[in-house]
Amino acid sequence: MSDNTDKRSNIIEGINDLFWIWKDEFKKVFRDSGVMIFFFLVPFGYPLLYSFIYNNEVVRDAKMIVVDKSDSFMSREFIRRVNASPDVKVVAVTGDMAEAKKMLDEKKAYGILLFPEQFSKDIHRGKQTTVSLYCDMGSLLNYKAFLVTATEVSLDMGKEWVLHSSPVSTSELERIKVNPIPYDSVALFNAQNGFASFLVPAILILIIQQTLLLGVGMLGGTARERNRFHCLVPINKHFQGTLRIVLGKGLTYLIVYSVVCLWVIVIVPKIFSFPQVGDPMDIYLFFLPFLLACIFLAMTLSGFMTTREQPMIVLVFTSVILVFISGISWPESAIPPFWKALGYLFPSTPGVQGFVRMNSSGAELSQVAPEFRLLWFQCGIYFISACLIYRYQIIRSHQLIRKQYRFMKARMATIAQKKAE
C-alpha cells in the first residue's frame, strides 16, 4: 500500500517537475538572443530570402549571338523565331565567328548559334543541313534554354520545309507525312520546370531540422558553460529524473516549432505560390514524427556540445551534404549505398522525400508509409539516446557533487586539524 502511494506521489512530482522544466526552458529560449536567431530569425527570414533568390523560377531571355554565314531567307527566319521564343534573346547577329567568340569572352552572351555558308543551299538541294550551337557551360540552365529553343525551331521549320518542297493533297495527309506519331510531354507537379518549386520545399525542411539542431545545441553548450562542473544538467531539485527533463524540454521545442512550421510549410508556400496539392491534414500528421525526431536528435547531439559556439562549427556545413543526400537534386537511385545509409540517420532525408511527394505531387500519407515509419523509428531511437545522454549527465553531476563534497570535507578537516595543532 505504502509502496503504491510512493509511486503515485513520484509520478505526480515527476509531472510537476516536467512542467517546471518546460517553463524554465521556455525562459531560456526567449532570453538567449543566439538561440532566438536560430529559432525565429532564420526560420522566418531564410525561406523568404531563398524564395526571393529563386523567385523567377526559369531563365528567360538567355543571351545568344548568331553567326549567320548563310545570310539567307531561311536562316533569317530561323533567327527571327529563336528571338521570338520566351527563353532566348538574340543580342547580335554577325558574320564572323571570331567576333562572336570575343563577345562570349566578354560575357555579352552565353551561346553562339552558327549557320554554315551552305545552310540554305543544302536544304534547297534536298540535303540534311546542320546548325551548330556553342554554349558556355558555366550554367546549365542557359544551355538548356538554348538547346530546347533551337531544337524546337529546327523541327518546326524542317516540317514546314518538307511540306513546301513536296506537297500532298489534303491537310490530314500533310500531318501524316511530317508527323506520323505525334507526342506531347507534361511536366507534372511543377508545370514550368521552375527552380524555386523544385529546390525550396527541400530547403524548407532542412531549415527546420538544422535550426533545431543549432538552437538546441547552443542551449546545451550554454548550460554546460554556465554549470560549475561543466555538466548539462543543473544542480536543482527539479532535475532529478531523466524522463521529466527530456519530455519537459522536448515539449518546449515542440511548441516553439509548431509555430515555426506553420510559417514555413503553410504560409511561405502560399506567399510564393509554390505547388501545394497535398492534403494539409496528412502533411501535419507527417510532420509530427519529423519534428519529434529532429527534437530528440537535437537533444542527443546537444549532449556532445561543450560550448555555445561549437554547434555552428560542427553542424552548419552538413546542410550542404544533407541537401544532396535527401535525393531531391541528385536522384536517390544514383546515391552510393554508403551515403544513402548515412542519410537514413537524419530526419531530413525521409522528411524531404515525404514532404515533397505529399506537398508537390499530392501523395497521400499511405503512399509515403516507408518514410513515415522511418521517422517514427528515428524518433524512438533518438528518444532513447537523448534519455541515455541525460541519465549519464545526471549521474555524472551527482558524482561530481559528491566528489566536491568529499574534497571540501577533507580540506575542512585538515584546516581544523591545523588549527587544533
Binding site: 557551360m137 546549365l140 556545413f317 536522384p331 505531387s361
Partner: protein, 392 residues
Amino acid sequence: MTFQETLLCTWRVMKREVKRITSRPIYLFGMIGAPLICLIFFISLMRSGLPYELPIAVVDMDNSADSRSLIRQLDVFEQTQVYIKTQSFQEAREAIQKGEVYGIFYIPEGFASKVTSGRRPKISFYTNASYLIAASLLFRDMKTISVLAGGAVGLKTGQAKGYTDKQIMAQVQPIVIDTHPLGNPNINYSVYLNNTILPGILQLMIFIMTVFSIGSELKYATSREWVKTGGNSFTASLVGKLFPHTVIFFFVGMLIISILYGYNAFPLQSGWGPMMLDMLLLILAAQCCGILMISTLPTLRLGLSFACLFGMVSFSIVGFSFPTPAMDPMLQSLALLFPLRHYYLIYVDQALNGRAMFYSMGEYLWLVGFFILPVIMGRHLKAAMLYFKYIP
C-alpha cells in the same frame, strides 16, 4: 617600432596561434576535417558524372511487337531504366507519388495498327518536375525516342518508295542541331557542381574559423594578452593570428584543386596558375570578410551567426545553379559582395573556357578589393579587443 621588431612580434603571435590551434581539436576539425568530409562526399557522390538508370514506368496499352520494341529501345538508353511495365495509368501515377519512378511513358491502345494505317497515334510522356535533374534527363531520353519513333515511320515509307538513306534523312529531319557544350562536352554534373560547391564550403569554413579564432579571444578575455604578445601592434597581432590559418587553408584549397583538376581531370584550359591564384585570393578575401564579421558584431555567437548565414546564402546567390543574371536586379548587385561569386566567374573564364587573363582581371581585382575590409573595420575591432566588455 621598427620593421624588424614588428616581424618579431608577428612571429610571436604566430607561435601562440599555432599552439592554440593544435591544442583544441575543434580548430583542426573546422579547418581541415569539415572541408575534407565534403570533398570525399561530393567527389564520391558524383563519381559517375551523371545519374544513370533513372527509373520510369511504361504504360503500354497496346502491347504489340512494335510497342514492345519501342520500350526496349527506351530501356537501352543509359539514363533510363524501365522499372515498371503496366497497363494502368493509375498504377504508374501512384508509382510516381510513392517516389519509385520519376517519369511515365504512355503508349496508347492500337498504337501499331494506327501507325500502319496512318491514323497518327499519340505518344505521351510525363516527368515529375519536382525532381528537376532527373526530370530533365528523362525528358531528353523520352523525347528522343518519340522523335525517333516518328522518324522510323518516315524511314520505312521512304525505303518503300526507293529513296536513298540520305534523301530520307533530309525528309525526316531537314535541319539538325549540332551541340557543342564548351569545356564540358558530356555535361558532367560533377564538373558543373563540384567546381563551385567545394570552394564554397571552404569559404564557409574560413568565415566561421576566422570569426571563431578572434571571437574566442574576446569571449575568454584573452585579447589584451594577445595584443601584448603582438607588441601592442594591431597589425602584427592580426596578421600573426590569421597567417597560420591562411597556410592551413591554402593547403586544403590546393588539395581541393588537385583533386578536381588532377585526380578527376576536370577541364583546366588555362593551366594551374590562374586557378591556384584564384583559390589563394578566395582564401584571403574570405578571411577579410571574417574580420569584417567579427568587427561589426564583436560577440562570438553573433559574429558566428553572421558567418554561417552569409556563408550558406553564397551557395545560392553565386549563380552556378540558377544563373545570377536571371535573378532580381537587387540580388545581382548583392552577389558582388560574395567572394565566391568572383571565384566562380574566374573559374568559368579560366578553367572551363580558357579565356585570356584580360577578361578575368576585373574579378581578380574584386577579390583583391576585399583586402580593404580589415583596414576600414580595423578601428572597430581594435576597440572591441581592448576596451569591450564581453556580454556572453
